[in-house]
Amino acid sequence: MSGHEPSQPSSHTFDYKHVGGRFLGLVALAVVAFAAVAIGAFTNTKQFAFSYLFAFTFFLTICMGGLFWTFVHHAVDAEWSVVVRRQLENIASLLAVMGILFIPLIFVAPTLWYWMKPENANDPLLIEKWPYLTKEFFWIRAAFYFVFFTVASLWLRRNSIKQDTSGSAKYTLLNRKITFGSLPLFAVSLTFAAIDWLMGLDYHWFSTMWGVYIFAGTALSSMCVLVLIITALRNAGYFKNVITIEHYHIMGKLMLAFTIFWAYIGFSQYMLIWYANIPEETIYFLRRNTESWQILSTALVVGHFFVPFLLLLSNMGKKNPAFLCGMALWILTMHLLDIYVVVLPALHKAGVQPNWLDFACLAAIGCTLAALFLKRLGDSPLWPLRDPRLKNSIALKN
């Protein structure tokens, strides 16, 4: 070919021909998986409740992370992330769907969060936690989280897309204001969602670091998903001369930073509980550090921290998209294991007991979100075309 502009692949809108029949395949798989999950919900309600919460939490953290990084972009007026921002917005926009996917949990709430059961109503520890642990307040909070997540993510994305046609800097400024208003609400929502749905699995237990522990996994896992999405799109021929190795370098650095952050928070939480040795607190780790759960907890320490930490330390790996994708997949697997070890020991107290419903729920929610993400991908340009900082972002050097 001659010295013309790169021909069709340089396009900035996603062409569905790259997906083809796979889109329908995803939809079909989601439908089949949901049907299987529905059968499981009636035959084995207890297992369904926990498996579904596990899968739900895994994907919720990824979507919340997309919103978090969008906020970070606007709050610090970042330059490098302009070119990847649309994909973060796309991930975050799935939070609205997460609100709908939350509905099945409403029906199994007392199974999951056993403080709701009438026989516990007179437990002094529950009475002490009045009015936080009351059903009314619990559902109001859940509604608030999803309303906030949905409004914030869709509003930011809408302004960003409007800027693609108008090019007006006022949308950048407006999004910055939205972000400043949203950041405290985001911190509150993420923290209390983690407390309500995960710490609430055992209302006797508490950890003051719980919210930030879940947040660490949130920011890390969504950065990994971003790396995978960007690489997939690059391999399909998009982002030519837009996203360079320099952008990968930054994403790799953030992956390393949050790997360390996760370990720092996870260890701090563990050490404080281990050292104080108060039965009310140690129950959480006692369960996860005995029987076969011990193997998974140890695997987390090695796989979620030491392996990615050592492998991401060097400059070379962070500048190599293929290597970084491998690391992203590895860390996502570890994040999945992390959430598994958070949720499932509450059900299988005697030891690890995998169930087909774990996988069915993951497939059901995962395929639904993947299909909707592909739909999102074609809705708008792949990167903010007329962001005032786009040129600087493309020319990034670090």
Binding site: F267, Y270, M271, W274, Y275, L313, N315, K397
Partner: protein
């Protein structure tokens, strides 16, 4: 060509003045391509991409810092396990110190790793830059004071294997440098 400093002292190098960052950047590229080794540029503010224009290699500081951090980590491990597990085994609350007491030891391992990494980074950086130093031959040149205002400078040192006063001053002139001056030591 002007000369400053003590003219009987050895020559430090030849310096030239440039009027803007762009000129300095292009001059740096040409000096790099001419194969000079011992030279430097000076500007009132950092110039993006200058390290590349000068052909500077990646600093080895990162690797040195890694070794510093490793030293800190191993120091902590030795101090903690060596003393409490081997030399004078501690038994607290019926629990002997062994591999399973690692949560209590971990903060110290972490802190010492960070401490020695930070020390190595700061002091290694100073050392590699030849800092701290009290004076520099370039300060003998009055015009060089403008480097903290609005002027840009290049200096090619006499230590450079390609250095010869005539060719270097001609070369700097051809790059658009002005006020080309030979800098002597004190």
């Amino acid at each position: 060509m002007n000369a400053v400093g003590n003219t009987s002292a050895p020559v430090y190098g030849i310096a030239a003045e440039f009027q803007c960052a762009r000129d300095l950047y292009h001059a740096a590229q040409k000096i790099r391509d001419a194969g000079f080794q011992k030279w430097d540029v000076f500007s009132p503010f950092p110039i993006h991409g200058m390290d590349e224009a000068m052909g500077m290699k990646r600093s080895i500081l990162g690797k040195v810092v890694f070794l510093g951090g490793l030293t800190g980590f191993l120091t902590a491990v030795t101090l903690e396990f060596g003393t409490s597990s081997f030399l004078y085994p501690l038994i607290v609350a019926g629990k002997p110190t062994n591999l399973f007491t690692v949560p209590a030891f971990f903060p110290i391992m972490f802190e010492l790793t960070i401490l020695l990494s930070a020390f190595t980074a700061v002091f290694g950086m100073l050392l590699m830059n030849g800092l701290p130093r009290l004076n520099h031959q370039l300060f003998n040149w009055d015009r060089f004071k403008l480097v903290t205002e609005d002027k840009f400078f290049v200096a090619i040192e006499a230590k450079d294997p390609q250095f010869s006063s005539r060719s270097v001053s001609d070369f700097l002139e051809s790059l658009g440098g002005t006020h080309i001056t030979t800098i002597h030591g004190d």
